[in-house]
Structure formats: structure tokens, C-alpha cells
Amino acid sequence: MRDVAIVSFAQSNTAREDRNEVEILIPVVQEAVKRSGLPRGEIGFTCSGSSDFLQGQPFAFVMALDGVGAWPPVKESHVEMDGAWALYEAWVKIQTGEVDSALVYAFGKTSSGDVAEVQALQLDPYCVTPLWPDADSIAALQARLYLEGSARTERDLADVAVRSRRDAMDNPHAVASGATDAETLLAEPYRCSPLRDHDCPMTSDGATAMVIVAGDLATRLSERPVWIRGIDHRIDPPALGVRDLSRAPSAERAASRAGVLEAPVDFAEIDAPYTHQELILREAFGLSDGVRINPSGGSLCARTLMSSGLNRIGDAALRIARGEGDRALAHATQGPCLQQNLVCVLEGE
């Protein structure tokens, strides 16, 4: 296995962008490439994550290449997934030995369409989509199952929101932040019981870019490269009624295969767009209560669809690069109710 490190990361999240996708992406990619120290022309592979359904155009992702630089022709790939999966593909490409470096990017304008309808399209097209359940309602079905089957309460969910928003105050890329308390939040009406507004993600528009490099190149480029010590992703069955929604077996499996428990973790950046999902994942990863979760504020406070998973990985990497931790778990999720999960273990030198 080749050692691969993250050497730079940049992101942008705004509640609602007037710029088009390329205009949002260019400054973010330029920043990540500049901070990597690697000239654009020397990056071996380019891989992106996005969903055409956010723009409502087949092959919409191709237009983003204008903002990334595809001349002279580059080795390029795309996944119709969160950028975290583009990171995985880029990591695999480096493992094959074909390239030594990669630019990974992701973007999404959640505000253009009706995100509730767009997300309903990822469900079973025969039996579920024709009922047009919105993502919040789907998540709420899981939340109720989890609360009724565990010792957790709606107050535990509110505590996640309070902590996340407070931490987000230190994150210039968060979209929702602020000091509040559980009583205030719990006094609000349900959005879709048992979830309230604060239990649901603050969706945003934005873009994300990251440069990863192999082995010695990482130590030449970065004072403190952040090594990807393990990375794995797993998926659970799509049918909601077949799964035990109160658990995330694919997350447990991915974490185990990524080597999470081989050594203690200083903090974790978990892509939990809903508060109850953070609790489910904390249990899935076997993290003790002492481990700090989402010092960035997490996907609750900024959720650019298709970017938010990669943002968790990038936020974790930057924290380690700054010396605020040595070993972290970073996670990304896709699909309804934590159906698909990617886990990586990051370590600073």
C-alpha cells in the first residue's frame, strides 16, 4: 500500500449563491492547488463528486471542468456522489501507481431546485418515490425508531445541535452558528416529528477542493502532511423497511476496515446531517464519550449537498495539520438514513 496524504484543502459554503457552479468552484480549486505547492499541470489525476440533479441537467458536471483546467487533456473521472467518494477513487488511482497526486473536488447548489423533491429521486422509484417523501420525513422515521429503541431523548438531539452551533461560531465556512440552549430549541414546534428545525441540516451552496499526494512527495510539499492511514466504504440495502434503521452496519464495517480502533482517536468529523444520526454513528464507531465530535460544527451547520462529506474529511485534515490533534476519524454518508458510509482515518506526522 502506498502512503497517501492530504496536503491542501479549501471550501466555500453560502446559504444561497448567485454565482454559477464554475464561478464558485474556481477560487476554491485555485486556493487548494496553490496551497498544495504542486503546479496544476503536475497533478496527475482529477476526480470530482457532484449530482446533476441539483442543476437539473444531464452531464451538468462536465461544465465544471472549465473551472478546473482540462487543457492539455487530463486524466479525469467523476462520481455521482459526495466528493468523499471521489477522494476514494483518487486514492485508489494512486494505489495503482499510475499517478502520484490528485486533485479532488466537489460542488453543489442546493438552492436551485426543490431539494426535497430532488432527494426523493434517490429512493426506490417504483414503491417510494411516487409518494414523494422529503428527506426530512425519511430521516424522522429513523429518528423515532432510534429514540424509541434507545435510552436517548429529544433533549439529547437538542444537545447535539447546541454544541454544533456553538462550535460552528469558530468556523468561517459554517452557515448556521450561534449560542443557544436546549430549552430554547425544544420549545420550537416539530418540523416533522420527532425532528425539529435544529435537528435538520442547514443546506447551502458551495464547492470544495483537496489535493492528495503519495509518499515522499507529500513530505516535500507539506510541513505536516496528513496521512490517510485507512479508508473504506460500505453500503446497506436500499429498501428502508428491510434495514434496522436505528443502526448503521455499513458505518461499523467501514470503520473497522479503515482501522479506526487500532489506536485512540483525538477527535472525529462525522457527516451527520441530522442530530440523531450523530448519535447512531458515534455508537457505530465505538467512540468513547471523551472524543470530541465535529469541532467544525459539522454538516448540521453547513450542508452543501455533494460536498459535505469531503468537507468533514478536509476539516479534520486541516485541524491535524494545525497541530490540534494527531489522529482523527473522518466520515461521509450518502443515501437515505445513513445507507452508505465512508470512513477514513487521518494521522499527522
Partner: protein, 152 residues
């Protein structure tokens, strides 16, 4: 900032529309034929018991499945959420619940809607039965919704 833009960025509507006529295989064909005839068919699997809607393959072992089992028509709520402000495409135009419903005889649950008037009447375990649509043969909305079993 762009030169000569002389004002705000323009916005405009865009519609993406597809008709989608989906052919059904042996499992869903049997399920939707059953719905048209006001009947629920599930399928037996080794790993997940009786699954409804039926799938062609076991979700865990991938073996081909072929043992259909009639289930329901009534069942119990496994989980639910209350939709206070229905969106325009959603099945009902007044507040309702999305629910996972375990039909009698099934192990996996079916997602559908419950029309019950007031959220306070719902709880995990409450029994519901289908209200069939007048016109059927069109899919999952052959079930107009579920309602409390005690409803006349």
C-alpha cells in the same frame, strides 16, 4: 465583480420533466398486480424474513427468491412522522403521516402514508388498514393511504 453587469444576477425558471414508463419484473409485477386486486404479496427470504414490497434477491445473501406470501392487508405502525404542511406532490393535501408499516405476516415494513386526522392518534404499534384507490393498476398509489384499523 463583473463589469457592465448593471444590476443583479438574472434568475429564471427551468423545468426538467421525464414521463418514465417502467416495466416490472417478476417480483414487482406480482406485487402491483396484487395491489390492483386489493391484495398484498410479499416474498420469503432467508436473511430478512418476508419482505414487502417483494424483491427478486435476498438483500444479504443475494440468492434468487421465488416464494411469494400473501400478507396484510392490515398491519402495525413501526415508525411514523407527521407532515404538518404537505408539499404539492405528496399524496394528501391535509396533514398526514409517513409511516413504516409491518403488514400482518411480513417481517420487513412498507413505507406509505397514514390519514388519521390528528397526530395524537398515532403511536408505534397502532394498527392500520389500507384505503384502496377507486382507480387502480397504477402502482403504489393504488393504496390511497392507510387509516386506523377501527375506521369504518
Amino acid at each position: 465583480m463583473a463589469e457592465g453587469s448593471g444590476g443583479e444576477v438574472l434568475r429564471g425558471p427551468h423545468v426538467l420533466e421525464y414521463p418514465y414508463r417502467r416495466s416490472l419484473g417478476p417480483a414487482l409485477g406480482r406485487f402491483f398486480t396484487g395491489l390492483r386486486d386489493r391484495r398484498f404479496e410479499g416474498i420469503r427470504s432467508r436473511s430478512a424474513g418476508v419482505i414487502v414490497p417483494p424483491q427478486e434477491y435476498d438483500p444479504d445473501t443475494s440468492e434468487a427468491l421465488d416464494e411469494f406470501v400473501e400478507v396484510g392487508p392490515a398491519g402495525a405502525i413501526v415508525s411514523w412522522t407527521w407532515v404538518t404542511r404537505p408539499r404539492k406532490k405528496q399524496p394528501l393535501d391535509h396533514p398526514f403521516a409517513y409511516a413504516l408499516i409491518r403488514l400482518d405476516g411480513a417481517d420487513a415494513s412498507l413505507l406509505h402514508v397514514v390519514d388519521v386526522g390528528d397526530e395524537s392518534r398515532l403511536a408505534t404499534g397502532v394498527r392500520v388498514k389500507p384505503r384502496w384507490a377507486v382507480e387502480r393498476g397504477g402502482g403504489i398509489r393504488d393504496i390511497e393511504c392507510f387509516e386506523l384499523e377501527e375506521t369504518e
